[in-house]
Symmetry: C2
Subunit: 261 residues, 2 copies
DNA sequence: ATAATAGTGTCTGTGAGACAGTATTCT
DNA sequence: AGAATACTGTCTCACAGACACTATTAT
């Protein structure tokens, strides 16, 4: 697959914050605290030198029958010109997940997607500027909702096949590997795959999700047998007709059936 | 099970740092950086108010045929007098895992134990003093090596059954629940259980590890059949004789046999 | 002998994987 | 008729779980 550099809108990436924001002093929070012997101390939150904390979000979607992720081209040192996973600093009053959602919203404009904390990367030296600890989330987007935003244009944002990535900045390749692993494992025992499909889909489309992510072919009959036996699918009654062949039944995910794969 | 409050030595817990350390100013790191148009900016790492980052370590071990964790009694606000998972601030030049190992060493004196990153908890308000993001690790200790340290005395450190915990400080109960879940899942498809046993052990002892963690009885014959069929065990030739009954074969874990359960 | 735990084998049901031909639509 | 994809069933094998008796040691 060749590199994709499609249009993604909205301009401000999380990493922009890193350069553009105004200087702010640390608030000097003081909290009084009792010690063992009852003597009152002042607790000073600035007592320690603190690492920076960012939240990165690996957005994954199926596009052109391929598993692709959204990357941002760095315009400054370090790793200038290289592609990186979008992310940004965490605000003092938002949860980690909120920060991830904000990032997601800024980059793709979508909300209410599957979001899961992946891992926290914090080796000293992973960012040459300063100590940065990043809590990484990954998001699964269904390609249909994503189409909407694909109109605007930005040369520094693009979708790339996880199987054909350019060299990534920082330790981001490691992060992608980790995410792909997690995704593959969860595919086998959860219903996570449905998050990559629109509300209605055919069994063939679902099978394709598995095939693309697991990167191997699956037997059609065994796949259908297995999926249908779990009762997590609901026949919509509708059919999808495309091309010059027999139309396929459209199904819908039934979250009520908590049945695990 | 009743609460354990056994001796654990060495004095300085990670949480002590929180109170005792001297004030340190943030270093004012300045890194020059190129912007898009080539204009030179100063990058100031103190631009943002930053959360504190701690590393907590949930140490788990099998003691008295029970799954127990190490807790520390808080001696100051907030949650004064309540029990908490040990943890401490991360140093600027150590990795997350190193910080966890340091914590482990400080609390139990043991090294080279199984250590795995669990999850990162960072809701604003989880610590009333300030914004604290904690990267939680869990460690599995075999009870044998732990015995050594069980001699000294400290009233504010103790081992507790995960099934009979006192009320915990912060969101630490949630952390324990999360860890127990992870442990149970991994038990089924990895060889993680061996980390809770000494080098040599009987099949019955191994089965007990599973039973205690999964919190249910297992069939002896099925268990042995399953374990032995994987070839991950090596017969040491030795036998363990205790009590007035037939002695049991002693096995050793064979890591070479990468066979997954 | 008794007490106490170690150690062993069979049957049955379920699920995974291998495998090929018919059905329906459009041109 | 031909092209293209949807849809379906059987067999085999491996593994999980139910289940009960013999073996070995010390007292």
């Amino acid at each position: 697959m060749e590199e994709q550099s499609e249009a993604m809108g909205s301009g401000i990436s999380g990493r922009e914050d890193w350069r553009e924001e105004k200087h702010e002093q640390h608030a000097q929070v003081q909290v009084s605290e009792q010690t063992d012997n009852g003597e009152a101390h002042q607790y000073d939150v600035n007592k320690y030198e603190r690492p920076s904390v960012t939240v990165d979000v690996l957005m994954m979607s199926l596009r052109q029958r391929d598993l692709q992720i959204l990357l941002i081209k760095r315009r400054a040192w370090p790793y200038e010109g290289m592609w990186a996973i979008p992310g940004g600093f965490i605000n003092m009053n938002e949860s980690l997940e909120s920060a991830a959602k904000r990032e997601l919203q800024e980059e793709t404009g979508v909300q209410d997607v599957y979001l899961e904390q992946l891992y926290t990367f914090g080796d000293p030296g992973r960012d040459p500027r300063t100590r940065v600890i990043t809590v990484v989330y990954f998001a699964l987007l269904d390609s249909e909702r994503l189409q909407v935003r694909a109109a605007s244009d930005a040369a520094d944002v693009g979708w790339f096949s996880v199987y054909e990535l350019p060299q990534l900045a920082f330790d981001h390749q490691e992060i992608v590997d980790y995410a792909l692993n997690r995704l593959r494992n969860k595919l086998e025992y959860t219903t996570i795959a449905f998050n990559l499909l629109p509300e209605q889909f055919t069994l063939r489309e679902l099978q394709r999700v598995y095939e693309i992510i697991l990167h191997k072919r699956l037997d059609k009959r065994n796949f259908r047998k297995k999926i249908l036996s779990t009762n997590i699918l609901e026949d919509t009654g509708a059919k999808k007709m495309e091309g010059t062949h027999r139309p396929a039944r459209l199904y819908r995910f039934n979250p009520a059936a908590e049945h695990k794969l």
